[in-house]
Amino acid sequence: MTVIHVPRSPESAMDPQRPVNALLRAQMQHLQDAELKLPARLQTDIYVNAIKTEGEAGEYIRRVTEAIHQAHDGAAKNRARTARKGTGVIDIAAAAEVGRPNRGSRIAGKKKTRKKSTKAAKKKSKPGRRA
C-alpha cells in the first residue's frame, strides 16, 4: 500500500485580511436576504456593504448561520411547548371534572354539545339545500 505524504500550507498562506472575493460577496448577499426574514432580536447589526475582508465576512456569515439555526431551534421548541400545553389542558380539564363533577363537567358538556349540534345541523342542512 502506498503512503503519500501531504505537505501543509505555510502559515503565511492564511490571510483573514484578504479582500472579499465575488463568491463571498454573493454568499453574504444571500445571507442578508435570509437575515431580513429572521426575528429582529436575531438579526445582526452588521452593515454588509462595509465588509471588506475575509475575516469580517466570516464573522458575518457565522452570526447569520447561527441565527438561522437558532430561529429554527426556537420554533421547534415552541412547537413542542404548544403540543405539551395541549396535553396539559386536557389533563387539567380531566382533573376539574374529577374535582367538581356536578357544575364544571355539566357546563362544559352543555357548551360542547350545543356547538357540535349546531355544526352538525348546518352540515346536515347544506346537502339538503343543495338538493
Binding site: M1, T2, V3, I4, H5, V6, P7, R8, S9, A13, M14, D15, P16, R18, N21, A22, L23, L24, A26, Q27, Q29, H30, L31, D33, A34, K37, E54, G55, A57, G58, E59, I61, R62, V64, T65, E66, I68, H69, H72
Partner: protein, 410 residues
C-alpha cells in the same frame, strides 16, 4: 450485478472551487497518455499586435499567481471559449483565455499566467487519486459561468434560468436532490456538510433557510465516517474563507484563486482518509469534482447539450445574446473513488454537474419526475442497482475489493 454495485450504500460528493482540468490534471498526460491534458501545440494568442502564441507551462503556484481572480462570469467565459468571435455562426475554439485575463490588469506578461498548469508532483493528492481510481476526461461545468449557478445544477439539476450569482429559488418546479430523498417512501437520508458556521454553505437561500436539519458541519462528517453513520447521500463543502476560531486559524481550502491550493490538497486527502478509514469504506463511492474552471485555461471545447426548460435573456447573459442552456461550461477535474474501481480507469463519456442529481436519483429512487430537461438527459456515473448492468458502463467493476488503495499521511 457486480459486487461493487451490490455493496454500494453511500455516495459522497466533494465539490471544490474554480480550477480547470488542464490546470490541475493536464500535466498527467506526459506519463498517462489516456488522460486528455496538456499536449504539444496547444496555444492561445496574447493581445499584442503580433498575437504571439502563448503555450501552457508547468509553472502554476499554490498562491499569489492568479491575482486578480480570473473573471469567470458569463461574458468573460464566452470570450474564453469563442476567442472574441460574436458572429452568428461562430465556432468555439478555446482561444480567448489570455485575452480575457489581460482585460483585468492590462498586463501582457501577467495575462500569460492563465495558461500555467501544475506539474503532477506539486499536487500529490489529486494526481494520485486520478491515477489510482477513475478520472473523467469529459466532465464539464454545467454553465459557462460562475459558481452559484453551477453549484445549483449539482443540487437541483438546473439553475432555473440563471447564469449569475443571484439565485433565489422560490416556488421553483424542481426539487433539490435532498428533498427528493428525504420525502421519498421509503424515506432516504441525505445531508449537506458545510465546513463550519463561519464558512457556512453556498446553498444558502433555499435549503438552509427552510430546512436547516439537512445540514451538518465537517467535524460531524468526520464523526459520521468514523461511526459508520453517514447518510446515503452526502454533499461536502470546503472552507470558503480564512478565519480565526477558538481553536486557531482556519485556512480557506476551497482552492478558489487566490486561496492556497495546498490547503485544498490537504482537505481532499482528509475527506478521502476519513472515508477510507470508515467501516463503510466497502460501501462508499466518493466523487471529487470542481464547480467550474475559474477562468483558467482548458483546451477541450465544451460540447452542445440538451437545452434546459429555461432561457437566460440577452440582458442577463451580458453578451447581447440569449442563452438556452444548450452548451456546457469549461471542463473541470472530476474523479470517482471506490475500492471497487480498477486502478488507472479513464472515462471518456460526457458529464456535467446535472449528472450528480441524475445519478443519485437513479441509484436510490429509480424513476422520478419532474426533473429538468438538462438532468433527465445527463449521463450517470454510477449504474443503478435495479437495472441490468452494462459492464462497459459500470465503473465499480472489480470482482474483489482492492486492498492496495493509497493512504495519505497528513
Amino acid at each position: 450485478m457486480s459486487p461493487g454495485l451490490e455493496s454500494l450504500k453511500h455516495i459522497v460528493v466533494l465539490m471544490m472551487e474554480n480550477r480547470s482540468f488542464d490546470h490541475m490534471l493536464g500535466g498527467l498526460t506526459a506519463t498517462h497518455p489516456k488522460i486528455d491534458g496538456i499536449r504539444p501545440g496547444l496555444t492561445n494568442p496574447d493581445t499584442s499586435s503580433a498575437a504571439n502564441a502563448v503555450s501552457p507551462q508547468p509553472l502554476a503556484d499554490f498562491q499569489g499567481q492568479l491575482d486578480p481572480d480570473p473573471d469567470h462570469h458569463f461574458p468573460a467565459v464566452d470570450l474564453q471559449i469563442f476567442g472574441g468571435d460574436t458572429s452568428p455562426n461562430r465556432a468555439a475554439n478555446m482561444q480567448g483565455f489570455v485575452k480575457s485575463y489581460f482585460n483585468q490588469r492590462r498586463d501582457l506578461k501577467h495575462s500569460q499566467k492563465i495558461m500555467y498548469y501544475f506539474p503532477p508532483e506539486k499536487l500529490p493528492v489529486l494526481t494520485t487519486l486520478a491515477t489510482e481510481f477513475a478520472v473523467f476526461n469529459r466532465w464539464f461545468a454545467s454553465i459557462p459561468g460562475p459558481t452559484i449557478c453551477n453549484r445549483a445544477f449539482a443540487h437541483y439539476g438546473t439553475s432555473f434560468g440563471r447564469v449569475d450569482m443571484n439565485l433565489l429559488y422560490v416556488n421553483e418546479p424542481f426539487k433539490s436532490i435532498y428533498n427528493r430523498l428525504i420525502s421519498a417512501k421509503p424515506k432516504h437520508t441525505a445531508k449537506l456538510y458545510y465546513y463550519d458556521t463561519t464558512s457556512s454553505t453556498m446553498e444558502i437561500t433555499n435549503l438552509l433557510q427552510h430546512q436547516p436539519e439537512l445540514f451538518g458541519t465537517y467535524p460531524q462528517f468526520l464523526e459520521d465516517c468514523r461511526r459508520g453513520t453517514l447518510p446515503e447521500y452526502s454533499f461536502v463543502e470546503p472552507n470558503y474563507n480564512d478565519h480565526d476560531t477558538d481553536r486557531g486559524g482556519e485556512i480557506a481550502n476551497d482552492q478558489h484563486p487566490d486561496h492556497d491550493v495546498q490547503a485544498g490538497e490537504l482537505y481532499i486527502a482528509s475527506v478521502y482518509n476519513a472515508i477510507k478509514q470508515s467501516p463503510l469504506w466497502p460501501n462508499i463511492a466518493l466523487l471529487v469534482v470542481y464547480d467550474e474552471h475559474g477562468g483558467i485555461y482548458d483546451h477541450v471545447v465544451p460540447p452542445a447539450c440538451t437545452p434546459d426548460k429555461f432561457t437566460a435573456s440577452a440582458n442577463a447573459t451580458g453578451t447581447g445574446m440569449p442563452f438556452a442552456f444548450d452548451r456546457l461550461g469549461v471542463r473541470v477535474p472530476a474523479i470517482l473513488i471506490s475500492a471497487w474501481i480498477p486502478k488507472g480507469t479513464v472515462v471518456d463519456r460526457v458529464f456535467d454537474h446535472a449528472s450528480i442529481p441524475a445519478t443519485i436519483t437513479k441509484f436510490f429512487l429509480g424513476d422520478y419526475s419532474p426533473r429538468s430537461p438538462r438532468e433527465t438527459s445527463a449521463d450517470i456515473f454510477i449504474e443503478p442497482q435495479a437495472a441490468p448492468v452494462d459492464p462497459a458502463r459500470n465503473l465499480l467493476s472489480l470482482d474483489k475489493m482492492r486492498t492496495d488503495c493509497p493512504d495519505f499521511d497528513l
